[in-house]
């Protein structure tokens, strides 16, 4: 009903009629609604979905064993037999890139989870308890932040040696300050809100408070950083592979494949092109998604 009907109203009504049942408007739903409107973010989400499927079904998609060397078919340009060509060892680059999806995503996920659990938790604790706890934690984070992230990660890996656990640890320590800072800010924002104060007033326990109230409400910010950090860790891995630290051959991680291929950039560019493309697509997708999430959860920033 309205005082005056305009075409704009009819459009909206038409849209509303299509929707079968009215949905309750939770913050998450509102965020999803905003996210869904963001076309670039949806593209990101779809690409990420496809990548996850590729990672899961890698053995079905990849035509060859990713470690299989065939010195009778070295450095072949892309063909029907080898979609992305072969590398200097006659390995099928397509298969390696497909398996690489699995390795890269999983390692990136490990790194991100580790970062979120260490830095994120510290941030939540600092934000929640405030006062001295906050000061101590944040001053420690200041210390970590004094060393540039990639340099910190490389120093740690160079000391601990190559390998997935070492890499995860390095990325975790290196990203701790940023993670802690962001999560703390998110918690502080929630903490200031009225309903947390009222929950406190009715005597909700601290752990319960963090788990049931703070984390779900700060979840938006955490999801943004989670997605964003997946891209960051993939980039960090490829940088470290370039320097020659982090992961060791023959793990089919994109950074390593890319690093193998970069030797042939001018003579056989396809060896570098495909892994670089995968890294680019993946990071792009995560970044687009992250950007969409940022707008969705934090509409004020747009």
């Amino acid at each position: 009903m309205a005082k005056m009907h305009t075409p704009a109203m009819e459009k909206i009504e038409k849209k509303n009629r299509k929707r079968k049942k009215p949905v309750n408007s939770t913050p998450a739903y509102e965020a999803w609604k905003r996210f869904r409107r963001n076309k670039t973010a949806i593209i990101g989400l779809v690409v990420v979905g496809i990548l996850i499927l590729i990672a899961i079904f890698a053995p079905l998609i990849a035509p060859y064993d990713y470690t299989m060397q065939d010195y009778t078919a070295m450095m072949q340009a892309p063909s029907k037999a080898h979609l992305f060509g072969t590398d200097a060892y006659g390995r099928d680059i397509f298969s390696r890139v497909i398996y690489g999806t699995r390795y890269s995503l999983i390692i990136a996920l490990f790194c991100t989870i580790a970062a979120l659990f260490s830095g994120g938790l510290l941030g939540i604790i600092a934000g929640y308890f405030g006062g001295r706890v906050d000061t101590i934690i944040m001053r420690i984070m200041d210390i970590f932040q004094a060393i540039p992230m990639i340099m910190m990660a490389m120093c740690i890996v160079s000391v601990l040696g190559n390998g997935i656990p070492q890499l995860v640890a390095a990325v975790m320590f290196a990203s701790m300050p940023t993670m802690a800072r962001n999560n703390r800010a998110a918690i502080l924002r929630v903490r200031g809100s009225d309903y947390i104060e009222s929950s406190e007033a009715i005597g909700v326990g601290q752990v319960e408070m963090i788990l049931k109230h703070m984390i779900p409400n700060a979840a938006g910010v955490m999801i943004i950083f989670f997605v964003g950090f997946l891209a960051v860790s993939i980039m960090m891995m490829s940088s470290m592979s370039y320097i020659g630290v982090g992961l060791a051959a023959p793990t089919p991680e994109w950074g390593l494949i890319l690093n193998d291929g970069k030797a042939y950039i001018t003579s056989a560019p396809y060896m570098m092109f495909f892994p670089a493309l995968m890294i680019m697509i993946t990071c792009f997708a995560f970044n687009l998604m992250g950007d969409g999430l940022r707008d969705a959860f934090d509409p004020k920033s747009k």
Binding site: A146, I147, S158, V159, R181, Y242, I243
Partner: protein
């Protein structure tokens, strides 16, 4: 104001002590015997033991740490490179200059492109232009920087013969490294500029300007931009410090003798004193730069004093509560 500056400088002490502690811990867990590394394989076991004693490696860890700090404070001794035997400090100082030049250039390139894209994107918000800008700026954030570097070398050095592929023997050599580092930071500047612009454009004083009959162009450039640049400038200030140590990969690709390459070389050479000493020096420099940036912001714009002092850190966003 003076009190604030003094307080900030005093706050440096625990941070630097903490950084040195982290570095020292890494140093102690580092594989290999430093004495053996210094003496080389031709040394006998007695010589090595003697050297260990001389270096104090047989002392308790805490004693070693105190001595480590003492050497840094009193003698500026960050350790000697295994490789050359030179003090790490004297090896790194000339490289800081090189990295500093590249950083300034890179930040300038990144900020200029980022700010322009950010403004365009804010003015054309929610249109295809906005999305296009987002995609362009994100492109360089999503491609590993060494790939960008190699492709740029291929284009500008190999094909066009315009710029040198590696090395910085001439001023031209600085261009590509600056461009690479700069491009990778475009996305973040674009984002900050865009959101800051949008925020400012929604401010009341913009409406006041409109009510004065001011043109949209003048509103954008005279009223909005100057205000929107405050957070951008702060982030430029912060990234000045961070990029100095962050150019490891690019400096390696281009063979630029900067601090990043020094650390990378030291890592591949397993030259741990150089890695860790270098990291510590860079951390100190970075912290000092951030301090100077903060203080100069406070001096330039007293309104920021409250936000910076209140948040106790560089991130103005953290003050949300």
């Amino acid at each position: 104001m003076l009190k604030y500056i003094i307080k900030r400088i005093l706050l440096l002490i625990p941070i630097l002590l903490g950084v040195s502690a982290i570095i020292f811990i890494l140093k102690t867990v580092t594989p290999g015997d430093p004495a053996r590394q210094i003496l080389g394989n031709s040394a006998t076991e007695e010589q090595v033991q003697e050297k260990r004693e001389e270096l104090g490696l047989n002392d308790p860890v805490i004693v070693q740490y105190v001595r480590y700090i003492k050497n840094i404070v009193t003698k500026g001794d960050f350790g000697d490179s295994y490789r050359t035997g030179e003090p790490v400090l004297s090896e790194i100082l000339p490289r800081l200059r090189t990295s500093g030049i590249i950083t300034i250039g890179a930040v300038a390139i990144g900020a200029i492109i980022g700010i322009i894209l950010g403004i365009i994107s804010a003015l054309k918000k929610y249109t295809w232009v906005d999305s296009l800008v987002l995609v362009i700026s994100m492109f360089f954030q999503s491609v590993p920087e060494f790939v960008v570097a190699l492709v740029l070398i291929m284009i500008f050095a190999v094909n066009l013969h315009l710029l040198p592929a590696t090395g910085i023997t001439s001023a031209k050599g600085f261009i590509l490294p600056m461009l690479c580092i700069g491009l990778s930071s475009v996305a973040s500047y674009t984002r900050i500029t865009r959101s800051s612009m949008l925020e400012v454009l929604g401010e009341d004083y913009i409406r006041t300007a409109r009510a004065k009959g001011q043109t949209e162009n003048n509103i954008t450039y005279h009223h909005a931009l100057r205000n929107a640049m405050i957070p951008v400038a702060q982030s430029i200030g912060t990234s000045l410090g961070n990029s100095i140590g962050g150019g490891m990969v690019i400096e390696t690709v281009f063979g630029v003798p900067g601090v990043g390459k020094y650390i990378v070389d030291s890592i591949t050479q397993r030259n741990y004193p150089s890695v860790l000493g270098g990291a510590l020096i860079i951390a100190i420099v970075l912290t000092l730069i951030n301090l100077i940036v903060d203080i100069s912001f406070v001096l330039i714009d007293p309104r920021l004093k409250t936000t910076i002092i209140a948040s106790g850190a560089k991130k103005p966003k953290a003050k949300a509560a």
